[in-house]
Structure formats: structure tokens, C-alpha cells
């Protein structure tokens, strides 16, 4: 118990979490603090490139094998399966329509890459190692949930529209996925030599830039929280907190079945617990324009993301430590 509390304290008082809290607080008191859009975009490009490259370089050292293939498969299955759980919970806890519930469910099957980056940074700072290919697992978990959501809709509404190429382009060629997978491949191809060449760029400034990025995310989440009461019901808010815990349990079981390290299990829990707010919302606007974007964006970005960052990550780390390390 003391270990869990120490872990939680270490997480809560880390610069990245405190930066997020600063942004959140500034937005809640309606400060005019603002990160220019182009800078926020630039920081997200940097973070995706750095995390993808480092993961690829790490895999090049260990080689691609059955372990990697199984982890990718597990990620795809988790992403495709979790929307069923989320959809069932939403129908039970809320009065959302089938379309809104399916759209929200897609977000909770997919992942938040920022939560993943924050979790891996916290693990690094605690000296907990993890499999480098977890970045590839994160990328593999982005899209399958969208297919499940569309299947749920087509089952409930047999006359629903067939999707065209625009949706698949939005899903598969989304900028963040292309950058993450592309950087992973560059890291994999160039290996440790490549990493040495750009190490000062992708390692030293990483933590500072992540702090600023999370400050901006705090501002965005805080502004969204102002509107949350008008947009989502108590049942939906409850879902936004319970679903990450349920998802993390699935991640824990999958991580144990794969025989991942402590850090690997923790990251798979984080991935299964997180909800998308970049790739899936855009795909949902194309595929399900009838679904209310305020509901799914508020839940994933303003409820689940802060929950995971502030409480979820230390909780998942502690649970993984309890199960993996005994």
C-alpha cells in the first residue's frame, strides 16, 4: 500500500502532470493563458516523431519476432472488442441513442497517444523498462474500434449508409498514425546508429516539450469541462471514469497472457484504458455525422484523459506491479 501511495505521489508531483494541472486550473479560472495553435501542432508532431523513432530504434536492437506479432494481434483484438463493452455500459448507464453510444464506444476502443506518451515518460522516470514495440501496438489499436462501432450501427440500423473511401482514408492515413508508424519504421531501419545521430534532438528536449504540450491539453480539457454539465449526464460522467478501469483490466489480462514486462503490461493497460480524441472524432464526423461530437469529445478529452493522467497511470502501474512482480 505504501508503495502504491509513493507511486501515486511521484506521479502527481512530476513536472508533466503538474503542467497539465496548471493548464486545467488556468482554464477553470478563465485565465487568458493560451498556446498558439501552430506551436501546439508543432509540439505534437515532435512528440509523435520522437516516441515513434525511439520505439523503432529499440525494436531494431531486439529484432521483430513472434512476440511482436502477438502483441500487435492482441492490440487489434483489444481495440475491436472494447467498444462492445463500452457500448453495453453506455446503454446501461445512459440514455444515449444507439448512434451516440456507438460513436462514444469507438473512442474507448481506440487509444490516446498523448496518454501513452505521458505513461511511458513516467515509467522512464521511475526506471521501469518496457518493450519498444509498444509504440507499434499503440498505432495498431487506433482503427479497429471504428470498424466495431460501424458494425454496431449497421446492426441496429440496417438501412445505414455504406461508407466510402473517404472514411478509410481518414482512419488509415490520419496524420498522427502516418507520423507515428513512419517514425517507428525510420527508427527500426536506422537502429541505434540513427538514434545516435538525432539523439540530442529527440531525447534532451522531450520532457520539456511534453510539459508544454500537456499544459495546452490541460487548457483544452479545462475549457471543455466548463461545458461538460450542459453536454453529458451523470451516467455518462460515471461511464467516463469507470470505463478506463474496465479497459485497463482487459489490458492487464492481455499483457499477462503475452508475458510482457512490468512496463509493457502497464502500457497495455494504459492503452486499453485511454480514449481517442484526435483520430476517432475526425473519423466519426465522416462516418456518423448524426452523432453529437460534444458528447464523445467531452467524455474522452475532458473526463477520461484527465482521470488517466492524474489517477489512472499510477493505479495501473501499481496494479501491474502487484500482479507481475508479486
Amino acid at each position: 500500500m505504501d508503495g502504491i501511495l509513493a507511486l501515486a505521489q511521484q506521479n502527481l508531483f512530476s513536472p508533466i502532470v503538474l503542467s497539465f494541472v496548471l493548464g486545467l486550473a488556468a482554464a477553470l479560472v478563465r485565465s487568458d493563458l493560451n498556446i498558439p495553435e501552430a506551436i501546439a501542432k508543432g509540439m505534437s508532431v515532435y512528440l509523435l516523431f520522437a516516441i515513434g523513432f525511439k520505439g523503432g530504434a529499440n525494436v531494431s536492437g531486439h529484432g521483430a519476432d513472434l512476440e511482436l506479432a502477438l502483441a500487435l494481434l492482441a492490440g487489434v483484438i483489444l481495440s475491436a472488442a472494447l467498444p462492445f463493452v463500452a457500448f453495453g455500459m453506455l446503454r446501461l448507464l445512459t440514455r444515449l441513442s444507439v448512434v451516440d453510444a456507438a460513436a462514444v464506444a469507438a473512442h474507448y476502443g481506440s487509444i490516446s497517444i498523448v496518454t501513452f506518451v505521458a505513461a511511458s515518460t513516467i515509467l522512464d522516470s521511475q526506471g521501469i523498462g518496457y518493450e519498444g514495440y509498444m509504440v507499434a501496438v499503440a498505432a495498431a489499436m487506433e482503427a479497429p474500434a471504428i470498424l466495431t462501432a460501424l458494425w454496431l450501427i449497421s446492426r441496429a440500423q440496417p438501412d445505414s449508409r455504406q461508407q466510402d473511401g473517404h472514411l478509410w482514408r481518414e482512419v488509415m492515413l490520419n496524420g498522427s498514425i502516418v507520423l507515428l508508424v513512419g517514425a517507428f519504421l525510420i527508427g527500426w531501419i536506422t537502429g541505434e546508429d540513427g538514434k545516435r545521430q538525432i539523439d540530442p534532438f529527440i531525447t534532451a528536449p522531450f520532457h520539456g516539450i511534453l510539459c508544454l504540450f500537456l499544459l495546452d491539453m490541460g487548457l483544452v480539457a479545462g475549457r471543455g469541462l466548463h461545458k461538460a454539465q450542459r453536454v453529458v449526464s451523470a451516467g455518462a460522467l460515471t461511464f467516463g471514469v469507470i470505463m478506463p478501469l474496465v479497459g485497463s483490466l482487459f489490458g492487464l489480462l492481455a499483457g499477462l497472457a503475452l508475458g510482457l514486462s512490468l512496463g509493457g503490461v502497464t502500457l497495455l493497460m494504459v492503452l486499453a484504458a485511454s480514449a481517442s480524441y484526435i483520430a476517432v472524432p475526425a473519423a466519426m464526423r465522416v462516418a456518423l455525422p448524426e452523432a453529437n461530437p460534444a458528447v464523445y469529445l467531452t467524455l474522452s478529452l475532458c473526463i477520461t484523459f484527465p482521470f488517466n493522467l492524474l489517477l489512472g497511470i499510477p493505479l495501473y502501474t501499481a496494479a501491474a506491479a502487484l500482479v507481475v512482480a508479486g
Partner: protein, 103 residues
Amino acid sequence: MHMHPAKRVEIIIESVMEGHLTEALVDAGVTGFTVVPVSGGSGRSGHWTREGQVSRAGGMVMFICLLLPDRLETLLDAVFPVLNRHIGVLNITDTHILRADRF
């Protein structure tokens, strides 16, 4: 200077649909238009702003098309299926252009 009557069509649509609408316009032979980002506004769902959007899902863009009046129906037939289910506005105004042979 002789000016020619024309139609100015403004379409405000979700930015995720920009590619879809561009394709529909080009397929319909409407090759002259301008796309500009929209920084915010207010509609049936209340006030919104581009500031702080982390996903393209929340953004809007505006297409500005200038065309000769006899091409208007073709444009509307191409745009309607794309705009129909999505958040957006289409408005048409009468205007004048200088070089009709370019439209």
C-alpha cells in the same frame, strides 16, 4: 469596363469533409474555387471556436465558388449529397465578374 453577371456560392462545411467536397466539385466540372479556414462562429449547437481544437473533427472551412449562372444547378447537384448529413451552410449571392471566359 464590361462586367458579367455571375453567382457567388459560399459553403461552410466541416473540415473533415474538405477532401470529399473538393472531389465532388471537381467531378462536377467546378474547378474554380477557394478554400479558407474558419476561425469560429455560432450556430444551432451554440458558439464554437477553432482555438484549442486538438482534432480536425471540430474545425470548419469555407469554400468560395464563383461561376456563371448556368452552371449553378450542376454545382448544387454535386454539393447537396456531401453537405446533406453534415454541419454546414450554403448561400448564393448575385455578383459580377470581369473575365467571363475564365469561368
